[in-house]
């Protein structure tokens, strides 16, 4: 398995990369970590005329706090996010999810911008972006725009990114220290893409649950926010029975499809189990 021939460009600035991308038309492709694009090239599922290598744009690798957001540059590697004390303090859900992406060597190279642009329906960062309502900042020639995650992800492997645009960074709303969080996934082999994954944040006032953000992947073509399903169950006492009730409600509301090897009912069962586990874990952290 060898890739088809491609030309290779190595810009030294984002502006230069954007110019090269515009000049290359639909047939040029940007490469960052290459951990998803690489296999597609090797298997000839993708045959771009040119690769525009972003790896020299180290100014796009950063994790910064500003206002109510944690901003992460597109070239930031999964391992930097997984090991970041700032992420752990301000957006722990993101760090918990980053630790589960692929394998150790994959995390050294893979980037958050690449994961969002690739938009695999089972990937971690799109799920966290959707759960928290992150905003994706996109650079185009001579400007930039911010797109909320809910508008960015359009279908499996399909985003709002135009052919001449590059993700510059992503802004995640920070999580309060009083909120408990949990990320849970199920896969058949450690490091594989999840069959179903759940991300939650839970805030308490006294004994009662006042806010829940709950996102789910593996039951639809893009990660799904389940906040509307949970809303009728807010205000109740936070305990295992409440977690089980929410999990049953979410299971009833999702509508996965049968696919090769994995039935819809299996995905629904996983959903219920993982939502319950994630809520219990998040509750214990919120009470912590």
């Amino acid at each position: 398995m060898k890739p088809a021939a491609f030309d290779y460009l190595r810009p030294s600035s984002l502006e230069e990369a954007l110019q090269q991308l515009a000049a290359g038309g639909d047939h040029a492709k940007v490469i960052a970590g290459g951990q998803s694009l690489g296999p597609m090239l090797n298997m000839r599922l993708a045959m771009p005329s040119a690769l525009i290598d972003l790896n020299d744009l180290t100014e796009l690798a950063y994790i910064r706090e500003g206002g109510a957001f944690l901003s992460i540059g597109a070239l930031t590697r999964h391992e930097q996010i997984a090991g970041s004390a700032l992420v752990q303090a301000r957006c722990p859900l993101l760090g918990q999810a980053a630790k589960t992406i692929g394998h150790y060597a994959i995390r050294q190279r893979g980037t958050i911008g690449g994961s969002l642009a690739h938009a695999d329906p089972a990937a971690q960062f799109p799920l966290i972006a959707m759960t928290l309502g992150a905003e994706i900042e996109i650079a185009c020639h001579g400007g930039s725009r911010r797109v909320p995650a809910s508008a960015f992800f359009q279908s499996a492997m399909t985003t709002a990114l135009a052919p001449d645009e590059i993700i510059r960074c992503v802004h995640f709303p920070t999580i309060s220290v009083h909120e408990g969080t949990s990320f849970q996934l199920f896969n058949r082999r450690h490091g594989d893409y999840a069959i179903v994954a759940v991300a939650v944040t839970v805030a308490l006032e006294g004994e009662r649950v006042v806010r829940v953000r709950l996102g789910l992947s593996g039951v639809s073509a893009i990660p799904q926010s389940c906040d509307d399903m949970v809303r009728p169950l807010l205000g109740q006492v936070a305990n295992a029975a409440w977690a089980a009730e929410v999990a049953r409600a979410v299971r009833a509301a999702v509508a996965p499809e049968d696919d090769a090897g994995i039935t819809a009912v299996y995905r629904k069962e996983l959903t219920e189990k993982l939502v319950q586990q994630a809520l219990e874990r998040a509750l214990s952290r919120a009470k912590g």
Binding site: M1, K2, P3, Y8, P39, G102
Partner: protein
């Protein structure tokens, strides 16, 4: 694109510069094996799953089947050939030998490179941490038990060596 000119690149491997003429699509793994004649890096699945081709780029473990040689200009590549120094095995290699951490040996170079890097960052890993990292390297012979034991043994030796240097 049907035809792309070969490019002259400098690939720095194990501290030595190799002047190569390669197509941009040439995998780092293939450049190491075919152009640099360093065949210790093994090629298994060619899509990032098996881990056999893992090498270090600037000290970090990377799949050499998911990177292209041309991308490596300006970076330092280290392969399995750099690990034993003048025939003396590294603590990790020695431990794999002593604990029977390999049988056919095909996956071993990738495992060695992954853990040479990991044990530098975390010389006292838990078994769970070892198994998490090891999950990125497929071995079809051993069942992993003795690989885990070897890594634990190597970590202990690396810690003793560090204490010895400190004292």
């Amino acid at each position: 694109m049907s035809h792309v000119e070969k490019r002259a690149i400098t690939l720095t491997v194990n501290g030595k510069n190799h002047e190569l003429l390669v197509e941009p699509r040439k995998l780092l793994a293939d450049a190491l094996r075919e152009d640099c004649r360093l065949t210790g890096t093994h090629v298994g699945c060619e899509h990032g799953v098996c881990g056999a081709c893992t090498v270090l780029v600037d000290g970090k473990p990377v799949r050499s089947c998911l990177t292209y040689a041309i991308q490596m200009e300006g970076h330092e590549v280290s392969t399995i050939e750099s690990v034993a120094i003048e025939g003396i095995l590294s603590p990790l290699q020695q431990a794999l030998h002593e604990a029977h951490g390999l049988q056919c040996g095909f996956c071993t170079p990738g495992i060695v490179m992954t853990f040479e890097a990991f044990l530098k960052i975390n010389p006292a890993p838990s078994e769970e941490e070892i198994r998490d990292v090891l999950s990125g390297n497929l071995c079809r012979c051993t069942g992993y038990q003795n690989i885990v034991k070897a890594i634990q043994q190597a970590a202990a030796q690396i810690r003793r060596n560090a204490d010895h240097v400190a004292a």
